[in-house]
């Protein structure tokens, strides 16, 4: 006991991640000023704890850091408990209203071409039009979300100042330790229409620039962006991520930050097969199956859509032109449907704001 424990580089990275999570938690505590911000703090502690749980569940992961991981689990539980205590005397209606006003944490998944990007971008813009602060992230190395938000495709890469090397991190890179995740968003995210903040994996350059190797911009950015998403605890920010097609990104738990998952399913049988492969990976989230581009075809067996975006030639034309659908065809059937989907995530107007008159300081 008391002797220093030798950590390998992976374990050292894990310990650093936990240290940084405590910084985020302390930052949230310092700024907690109303019911909603304590609820957000509780949610953030639980979100980190759930992510930690995936580490703890695997015996072989970070063996020398396991005592620290258990300590961290207890620290996070302490933050969650403190938040519970803070709101203990609050009447249920006020509590419910504050909970409804918490920012959305949404991941969008599905097969390639299912309509993830149009869904993510339109929801992000609509949330922002509703007065929310919105951060939208593209976790696909083939950028598309920028275009659908109304930005040039080249926008939103993480600059050098936002990432740093760490030998134990995935691909050897991670988010900078100089700023909290939300500070990185505020400083570096591209500003899209409606003031949506956007970050992506940067542009894959030509092969000679190292695309497909550990040196590529995408590989340098991906771990940073995943941890950035996981570290946004602010109650007044909505966070939406458009995940790369197929099972790899949910398998890698890039959706770790999310509370809600939208699974977009197209009319093709293989799109349904993909959804059936994806759903078990997100079974611990609230998931909504959204059917897209169906004409008169019935739902796929076992995949009843909770929400439907119709086949829409007008949207297809806008996609051909590479425009933001919300600007180019706001009244088209698909975008009207997405407007209704957005309202599913937004509480009734009277309950949008915290009951306390005190706004959350930024």
């Amino acid at each position: 006991m008391g002797e220093p424990i030798e950590l390998n580089k992976r374990e050292a990275w894990a310990v650093q991640c936990m240290d940084r999570q405590l910084v985020v938690m302390e930052d949230l505590v310092a700024r907690a000023a109303d019911i909603r911000s304590w609820l957000a703090l509780e949610r953030q502690a639980n979100s980190y704890a759930r992510h930690l749980g995936t580490w703890l569940a695997k015996e072989s992961i970070f063996p020398a850091a396991r005592d620290r991981m258990r300590q961290h689990q207890s620290d996070l539980a302490g933050y969650a408990q403190r938040a519970c205590d803070e709101v203990a005397g609050v009447d249920p209606d006020s509590l419910e209203a504050a909970r409804a006003a918490l920012g959305v944490r949404l991941a969008v998944i599905g097969k390639g071409g299912a309509g993830k990007t149009v869904t993510s971008s339109t929801l992000a813009r609509l949330f922002a039009q509703n007065g929310r602060k919105v951060f939208a992230a593209d976790l696909d190395v083939n950028p598309g979300l920028a275009i659908s938000l109304g930005l040039p495709a080249s926008e939103g890469g993480l600059p050098d100042g936002a990432i740093e090397e760490h030998p134990g991190s995935l691909y050897g890179w991670q988010l900078t330790g100089d700023m909290t995740p939300i500070e990185v968003v505020e400083k570096f995210a591209a500003v899209a229409p409606d003031d949506v903040r956007f970050l992506g994996l940067g542009k894959i350059g030509p092969a000679s620039e190292g695309a497909g190797t550990d040196k590529s911009a995408a590989k340098q950015s991906v771990a940073a962006l995943v941890h950035l998403l996981l570290g946004i605890g602010e109650p007044d920010w909505d966070v939406i991520a458009d995940l790369e097609a197929g099972p790899t990104t949910p398998f890698e738990r890039y959706h770790a930050f999310s509370e809600d998952v939208v699974v977009v399913v197209g009319p093709a049988w293989r799109s349904a097969m993909t959804a059936r492969r994806l759903l078990p990976m997100v079974e611990d989230r609230r998931s909504i199956i959204v059917s897209n581009r169906f004409r008169d075809e019935p739902d796929h067996p076992g995949l009843a859509a909770r929400f439907r975006i119709p086949f829409d030639p007008e949207l297809a034309e806008v996609e051909r032109q590479g425009l933001a659908p919300l600007d180019a065809c706001p009244d088209s059937p698909a975008i009207v449907a997405l407007t209704r989907l957005a309202s599913l995530f937004m509480a009734p107007p009277g309950r949008r704001r915290p009951t306390s008159n005190q706004e959350v300081p930024v």
């Binding site: 390639g112 071409g113 497909g212 890698e252």
Partner: protein
Amino acid sequence: MKIAVCGKGGSGKSTISGALARHLARQGHKVIALDCDPNPNLGISLGVPRESVESMSPILNALLDAGHTHKDPKIEAEVLLGRYGVDAPEGIRLVATGKIERPSNACLCCGSHNTTRQFFGELPADDRIVLADLEAGLNDLIWAKPGANDIVLAVTEGSAKSVEIARRACRLAEELGVARIIGIANRTVSDVDAKRIGEELSVEMFTVPEDRAVEDADHLGVAAMDADPSSPAMVAIGELAQLITR
């Protein structure tokens, strides 16, 4: 001959690959179809029954079960092909390089890419055609590493995002030294569409028309080649097979 098919998700890579493999086999070629998508579904377009596609054992899982580490699958491709391949119609042999199923699995992505390289790069073509339906995007193209003697098909539908990825794939293939790159303007609704895409890609172009019969087959999860081989898209892909082997 080796053919690598790439493009954005949903552009029609698998539909084109499946139908092309069937046409090539009908012309008398021995065809090996590689499904390099971590979410394998090429079997559908080849005419393999849906249940077999869903339950198909990809090489990577089999290797892991046999105790190989995911970055180091050391069995020869030829052996794996015999052991883990599945028979598709018209003598086609189908193999899936990797599939990710559960969060509890070991990391399979690197392995998936490595197996793609092993199969596409190292499996001798000899007197047969190796046709690889690559994972969406550009990464797999880098892994497959097609060379001067190989053919790259960059598939795109009309959307700007899809065209942009196909354009990047064409430039990447040029950098890799691929002599024959064919852009496939898939599901085109007009000549204007096809012309615009051709200008963007600036490579040899081939057009596959929009085809409701293909969409209907897709919805049912059956091969368009079995549902309606005389539909406009299937006929066009038959011409593509002629063009490639000429």
